[in-house]
Symmetry: D2
Subunit: 489 residues, 4 copies
């Protein structure tokens, strides 16, 4: 296991300024959190099953903490759930557990911040699992350092952990509320204390979090990033945690409070475009349905002539079905995905980098030869993979390739991410749509409009979602919600 | 690494009779083979890439042998390709290689027979990778034992290896031809000798094998179980190896001969139903196309009323698309497959066995609630998984479930398999269709007719495929091809 | 990797009291620390080599932290050095490093507290590796909790880390001195800050720590638990760190100060009896020499008749040589140790527990048969292993077995250990010497006298060593140093 | 697992000649074998315990085969016993087992020939574990190839396996005797058949093999390379297997026969010098005793003046004790061996190669400073390690270093080894003793005389031991036994 720590505040004025070693290779980070309160049940195993349904949200590391009120036992490590827990889950016979999976940042030799994390203070212990990123982490951390807080990781999650664990407020709602009012950004949290399981969502509701009830026990509850994880433990979906809400589950039952109300929501629209599983329902909206509608909107706006519509599997499938239904073009499988591609695959160095796409995707010539193809994908980041896929389809005999993307052009890195230096790698940040079309080598290229996207996610007035990664200076200057959100810039 | 050997011939009359320890848990075995002749290229890496595209044909073990004419180096082991070759592929700088992946027999602690295997005899060395099963293995082996042959494994593959390596015939065609005329059953082989790469297919052509040409070099060739593996090394498909054909590739070029002609072919029809990847073309027929047609035939015969058609992913997808096109019913995703389910997943013991289906499949309630659903799957073996899937769909709100299977009822274990004791576990061997329908809890159950299946695979006269696993005593007695094939019983 | 945390301060009065899960199975804990300051050299590799020479001080876990003044990178994990660093050491190109090995607590499934540990505060970062145990940890920790400190581990090392990292004192000497004045017990520390490598030893000097200089560079320094680790990096021994001394090494050179003076020293005498390597020199005294003298003293007091003297390898060897020289009895090898016994050895359950000694030790019958044997061992803890060794020697033909122990009877658990519940397992705490003799089945049993021990370690007046584990109520009541040390009881 | 095979007989005249890839890095190979017949006992675990005591004879690979008369189950792999059997031993409930450990050939990436090996023929199965090397392997193998035998490994062990398994002789004595009469060289074998455990030793008795009886069962027997392995399973030593003897153990009891008598024995004298454990008794002679005598002979011939005698641990210890007793010089520990050095240790590349000795050995300055030291080692192969040890001792302050070697100069590679190309690396093959002395940097260098060696091993007339590795052309020409042994050249 490898940890990397940084020196945030140099010891002397002349000492060097600390810089983060951590180099994210994704334009955005994602995680999955899960919590379970089930006295008398095997909470570690339930947590394992729940996290397994959230594995798509994070493959870099995984961890589970279990408490019996006296102790908190944690097993965590790098890798997939099946790797981390091969040699066992926490053995503590507890009544509550929280778990976490973290997204892969491939290529880096420095790995930080495996969750859940834990702190023991004068007011008891707190274990925490966090999905999201703070936008004012450095400012808050500097203040905390001045107040005497110490940090053992480089995560912004530890900021929230220390604020909460260090709070002397008389009740847990105040403790959490006052702590979290100091931070800005995205956070869906599940927390363990000696006597409670707690779920919290930030006041904008950037990241999803929902509540379920386990069958058989009236007071057995589950918290999960996505509803699909409730299904995997056969829990009944109760409702989404609201933005700014704190849910506290303990022996006295379940209680709710709102520590901060926000006029608008800012649910990450990329959950619907790409992150979440299509079998999940987020904030009342089926991910499958929203993706299907994205496809329909793409079809409505598509002006070209084509014979078939095919997805880039797996994330393009649902939108392609919507496109097919709206357009009447037959939906076909044009690319088959190798199900064994994973993080452990080591590419032979002698094989050119282009082969990476062939390892993952293979054309169905029967469907492609001589056809005018509409190709559906969820988004274009750098464009290199897309170009290789288009080349693959052309070599398989496609006569024309019309690419339709079920999201607007990504022009901005996520304000809730760590590092914005990657912005120049975003193809839509530096090229026009026509230039991108030429780079990809397609006959036409269509992006979903923001209007279409908002209608697809049932939010035509843009009251509930964050679209900042699609922000374009000229066109959006008047209506940009980003400008209203001072803490985002 | 664990080997298990058996004593086939007891040393003395009073010595105990040998019995096989090996307990297959699948009703049929499958493997993938790959060979490459490419002087000057990294043949080990090409073989690795090719096998990676065939990983679906075998997850239990993997191996690659490379030769430079003087030596043959082999790396092999238990597990997925990425596990076995994590610490490296053969380092020999050779001109030819063969590789093998073997199907999982889950549950058994005894693992045998990792391929490729190798023998060195008076006439040089032979390395061999085999897909298929012999039907007269015991008889031939007893004869060979009497002739003085020794065996170090329990595979029938070693029978062919020893016959070929022990043959003193003047040329390689005779050597192989005379050896293989002694055995009956299914075998697609790739062989390495000091100076040649060789591909052979049995006279009935049970298992697929095809030839491709690597770009850039006029004399660089590839042999593969499925054409999708040619794509992964960017080889151009040349043709299928014919039944009974021997292909010899060496410095003098490529030459072909037929060592035994058979009136009819017996291509395994389950390659099209289930085993092969849909992006492969086998014996001139696109697997995607044949599966699509199976779905169309199912739709033609379907008499019920329904709202949507959904597949059991992944193998039911293509047939469901065919059903949708023929029936006009919309194709929907009703079940999402967890992409992280694999052989390394260890199920918590505390969770009931029923949860294994929930771990793998999750319903899309949006699509299922209140609907009359046609559910497409490729086959039913024991029926237990199907029953759990149906229960899952019903709990997600489906009003009716009509199950359509893109194959006839499986009533017989494969004659080319190892153990027929499993026959009683085949639900269609012991129950009528109506009884199965009740067991699964579906509103209707339809199987694809043999006629429909044969039309789907472009073989209406049943001249080229083996349908023995669907054989039923009464109805098939007149037309059974099995009865004509003496060595099958 | 498995962490276990406890809740030290319950959240509410009625909340359950925290109890430690951690169950030590050794009567005393030991660790090894190493630090290196060597700009321009590979400090991670030097640290690795140094720790390798200290591996005998801890086999449970290992870790190395490297800093370049901006960042601190840590690689740590469970197991031997060769296991933990198999996949690499810290890659940071730094100028200083600290490392730690920790003793095995076999049998427990809960592993805590892998070092080095790290904290980042307002005054910069601190990395810490600690050998020893505090005696007032709970009291200090409760005070710190009340002051708002948070803890992420259950180690007493984190208490010192947080005190130092949280100190706002203007200079590092004050920072460390004021922090450490709050704690009592045993600690030899190596610390990393942004600009310094620091070594500290508690005011009683319980645990060893020495300073060396790397060849070739005037300003490259090494700190190590034992001098043998200096040899392994070819560093020249400079001197021992004094009790209560702080050594600070940075770009300005090396400076020393004493933060607390103590009239007497309390060096752990078991370093000489058992812990340290015989090739080390601790506080000016060769471990080899002191063990040799222990053997001589045993011989002087031995009244029996015998033919040969043999050691229990490896720790009894040097004392047996001393016994031989003093007594004139020939030194022989009577037991051969299997060099492959280690932590990874898994004993077959079917074999009786007695065989564990046979796995480790085998008699040399040639030397034992018919002989009256003096058997030298360093100490007796529970007595079970000793009894099995005696039985082994008798079965090999020894006529008489006279056991001589190069330490006084262990009657007390170490006051600097974590858990005193093990005291009842100490055979000398509950039995007389004659009763122990009978239990072991030896013809005579002699322990080294305290006087002899003190003379062996050049401390006849008992001014410099801690002998508390040999404390006996009646005989020691007048002279016990323990009673003068208020913080020990 | 990695296998490497070679083509021994090219397929065609113009085909390239096969060469062995295998590159031994040791001047001699060693292995350990163990067999157990114990119906009703856990034979796999007994075999594991026995092999553990033989681990010093081979660290490269390990394997155990168990039979119940019907099947033979084998678990084998690369690495130490604890690595190979971490995930379990053979689970077959058998009555007999054989096991094997193989010596490390460090540095090579090609690993071959893990034993036990197995063959099934017309006359039943045979499992075999072999210690030794054949001298006429290539000739016999070519003959066998011509007779139609096939080989799946490159071991000479497989030659014996195939001869025995292929033999149609009516009884097992004839089968084995006739087979082994065809081969020359060194072999101690343990064999498994359906109904027997068999031990065989070659007619010269090069490699040791002994018989023991398990307590508690009248008919439970053990075969082992060294007697120390009998001790580890608490078996009673019965006797050594004689040269040319076949021991057959089965339900009818135990019977013995001699298949070939030889006038003289040729026991490998290096078993006494270096290979065997000092607690073993080989062919009636205690290894400890013979080493002690070697030291005495060295002392008798030593003409220098010195203060102390120290061993190179571990193999020099016993001879140093003998030297001390004979000379009256005190025996001291001058070098301490790091007990954690093993095959898994990865040396930092940045550290110079010279440090490898420092990692392994550390001087005890207290004993060395200012002393005239006699340094005892068992042998000198290349001389590089010896030179580094001498340098280490000098840096620790020794005034003079007199090196005494408890064997004559090694001038020849072992005729029973695989590759003689290494001869030029033997320092005594290319330099005089005076030149070697200068190379090592010692004040004097003495080798044990052949006369002294033969007396030490109780064979003054040289009737029972092989001394060929010490053969020198001029001086030995008259008396060389090598010249009488035609098959050795």
């Amino acid at each position: 296991m490898i940890f990397s720590h940084q020196n945030a505040v140099p010891q002397k004025p002349q000492a060097p300024i600390a810089r983060a070693v951590y180099q994210p290779h994704r334009w955005r980070e994602e995680c999955g959190v899960f919590g379970v309160w089930a006295p008398g049940r095997n909470v570690a195993d339930l947590c394992y099953l729940g996290l397994f349904a959230l594995q798509h949200r994070g493959q870099e590391s995984a961890g589970i903490s279990v408490t019996n009120g006296f102790h908190i036992d944690t097993v965590k490590g790098m890798g997939l759930l099946t790797d981390v827990f091969r040699s066992g889950r926490p053995v503590l016979d507890g009544h509550a557990a929280v778990g976490h999976v973290r997204y892969s940042t491939h290529g880096g030799s420095i790995h930080v911040n495996i969750q859940p994390i834990f702190a023991n203070g004068a007011h008891g212990f707190v274990g925490l699992a966090h999905n999201g990123n703070l936008t004012n982490a450095e400012v808050v951390k500097q203040n905390m350092l001045r107040e005497g807080y110490l940090f053992q990781t480089t995560t912004d999650s530890e900021i929230m952990l220390n604020l909460i664990a260090g709070s002397g407020a008389p009740d847990v709602e105040t403790k959490i509320g006052e702590s979290l009012k100091q931070v800005a950004g995205a956070f869906s949290l599940v927390l363990l204390t000696a006597d409670s399981l707690i779920g919290v969502r930030d006041p904008k509701g950037y990241r999803p979090l929902c509540l379920g009830r386990l069958p058989g026990s009236p007071d057995a509850w589950v918290l999960a990033s996505e509803s699909c994880a409730l299904d995997s433990v056969r829990a009944e979906f109760v409702r989404d945690i609201e933005a700014g809400e704190i849910i506290i589950i303990n022996r006295d039952g379940i209680r709710s409070s709102v520590y901060e109300r926000s006029e608008n929501r800012s649910g990450c629209v990329f959950e619907h475009i790409y992150f979440a599983r299509p079998d999940s329902v987020l904030d009342g909206l089926s991910v499958w349905e929203s993706r299907f509608r994205m496809g329909r909107h793409l079809a409505k706006d598509f002006k070209g002539q084509a014979d078939i519509v095919i997805p880039v599997p797996d994330t393009g499938i649902t939108a392609a079905l919507g496109f097919s239904e709206e357009s009447g073009l037959p939906y076909k499988e044009g690319l088959i995905k190798n199900r064994y591609v994973g993080r452990s695959f080591i590419m032979p160095q002698q094989i050119s980098r282009e082969a990476t796409v062939e390892m993952k995707l293979n054309p169905v010539r029967f469907n492609l030869a001589g056809q005018r193809v509409v190709l559906i994908d969820d988004s274009i980041v750098r464009g290199t993979t897309s170009a290789r896929i288009v080349s693959l389809i052309r070599r398989a005999g496609a006569k024309e390739v019309h690419m339709c993307i079920s999201s607007p052009p990504i022009t901005q890195t996520c304000h809730y991410g760590i590092d914005t230096s990657i912005r120049k790698e975003l193809i839509a940040a530096v090229k026009t749509v026509e230039e991108i079309r030429q780079t990809l080598g397609v006959d036409s290229l269509s992006y979903l409009s923001k209007t279409g996207l908002l209608e697809a996610v049932n939010d035509p007035g843009n009251l509930n979602h964050c679209l900042e990664c699609f922000w374009v200076k000229n066109t959006d200057s008047k209506t940009s919600r980003a400008e209203k959100l001072g803490n985002h810039v």
